[in-house]
């Protein structure tokens, strides 16, 4: 249709990039660190396991790095940042008429297939971000902007792998 509701349109990607870059610049200027996402989920995992078995957390060489006796793992900058992401995305979606319960998938696959792959993809992203010390936000985006070799390598690995192996997952998307 010619008369698509303009309010449902996305912003220009270059404008989005400039805004995101300015936000990242401001964030580094204020906090000395950048944006993040996977770290908040890690803190949520640590807090959950700590709730069930504090002894287990103390004895696990991974969890134990992220707890201290006086601060709850959920009382963390990144956790609040991610709560902010949810709020901000909700506002944007509400303003543009995009709030809707939906399983988005390519019409050629079933919604169940989409959800199984979404869960598997999330799991892999969770595991990979621990190895790489961050995900697309904290390692690839922020890391590249501060010229961290680890950040640029993470960016190249994520997108390089994506392009190299895209053909095997084509049916999910096209």
């Amino acid at each position: 249709m010619e008369t698509t509701d303009r309010s449902k349109k996305y912003i220009n990607p270059y404008l989005g990039g400039v805004l995101l870059g300015l936000l990242l610049l401001l964030t580094v200027y204020i906090t000395g660190r950048g944006l993040g996402a996977s770290g908040a989920v890690k803190n949520a995992v640590v807090a959950s396991v700590n709730e069930i078995s504090p002894a287990h957390v103390k004895h696990n060489a991974y969890y134990s790095q992220f707890i201290s006796d006086d601060v709850n793992p959920l009382n963390n900058w990144l956790v609040f940042e991610v709560i902010g992401v949810l709020a901000g995305a909700f506002i944007s979606g509400a303003l543009s008429g995009r709030l809707k319960w939906k399983v988005e998938h390519q019409p050629g696959i079933r919604w169940r297939t989409r959800l199984i792959f979404a869960a598997a993809g999330g799991m892999l992203f969770g595991i990979g971000s621990q190895f790489a010390r961050g995900c697309t936000s904290g390692a690839a985006l922020t890391g590249s902007a501060v010229l961290a070799a680890g950040g640029i390598l993470t960016m190249m690995m994520i997108f390089g792998t994506g392009y190299l192996f895209a053909r095997f997952f084509r049916k999910l998307w096209v």
Binding site: G21, T31, F80, E81, G88, T136, G150, G160, G162
Partner: protein, 196 residues
């Protein structure tokens, strides 16, 4: 002057509120750019939508060049800015795993929160998968600990690796980006369009 919080120019007690506000802007920009949609994101790998590349590269370039100017004007002490440590082996393995996860899931962690916030059930499932993945990783940590810690180079920068100045690297990065955008623009009619 900056960074403000590490130098206690802003009291660290404001940390969480600032985190929330920064996150809100982050979420607004992600959603408004279209990153709440997995099919829009994965278009970058199949040639029908290059939003991810445009937003990502522009953001990196703006922040990278901006930080160098801030440093040049003496507004920020870059030695106080956190540089992500490089663990070579773990980063290669982790980046590869995330790349496959990207193709399967269609989101990365930040964008899955943006999708979840507007009701995308696939994004919510992706986020739950992430929780499970991190749980699995942590529980299996003794098995992967050696790999996790291998190839530790600390907070190494790309300009130390290449032996060039940060300004020169940023210049090359911006040139490469503009060339890429030029190519995308020149061939804009050649790319397949699909209804998302």
């Amino acid at each position: 002057m900056g960074p403000l919080i590490p130098q206690q120019i802003i009291d660290p007690a404001w940390n969480n509120l600032i985190g929330f506000l920064v996150g809100m802007c982050f979420g607004l920009i992600l959603e408004a750019s279209g990153f709440s949609s997995s099919r829009k994101i994965t278009g970058v790998f199949y040639g029908y939508d290059f939003t991810v590349m445009k937003v990502f590269m522009t953001a990196v370039a703006v922040a990278m060049v901006g930080l160098l100017y801030f440093n040049y004007f003496g507004w920020i002490d870059l030695s106080l800015v956190y540089v992500n440590p490089l663990f070579l082996n773990a980063t290669i393995v982790g980046g590869f795993i995330m790349g496959i996860g990207f193709l399967m899931g269609g989101f990365c962690p930040g964008t899955s929160f943006a999708g979840a916030a507007i009701g995308k059930i696939d994004a919510i499932v992706f986020s739950l998968g992430m929780f499970l993945g991190i749980l699995l990783f942590s529980e299996a940590f003794p098995l992967v600990e050696t790999l996790y810690n291998a190839g530790d180079y600390g907070g190494l920068t790309i300009t130390e690796v290449l032996g060039i100045s940060p300004g020169l690297f940023a210049f090359f990065f911006v040139c490469a980006m503009l060339m890429l955008f030029g190519i995308l623009y020149y061939f804009r009619d050649k790319f397949r369009k699909i209804e998302i």
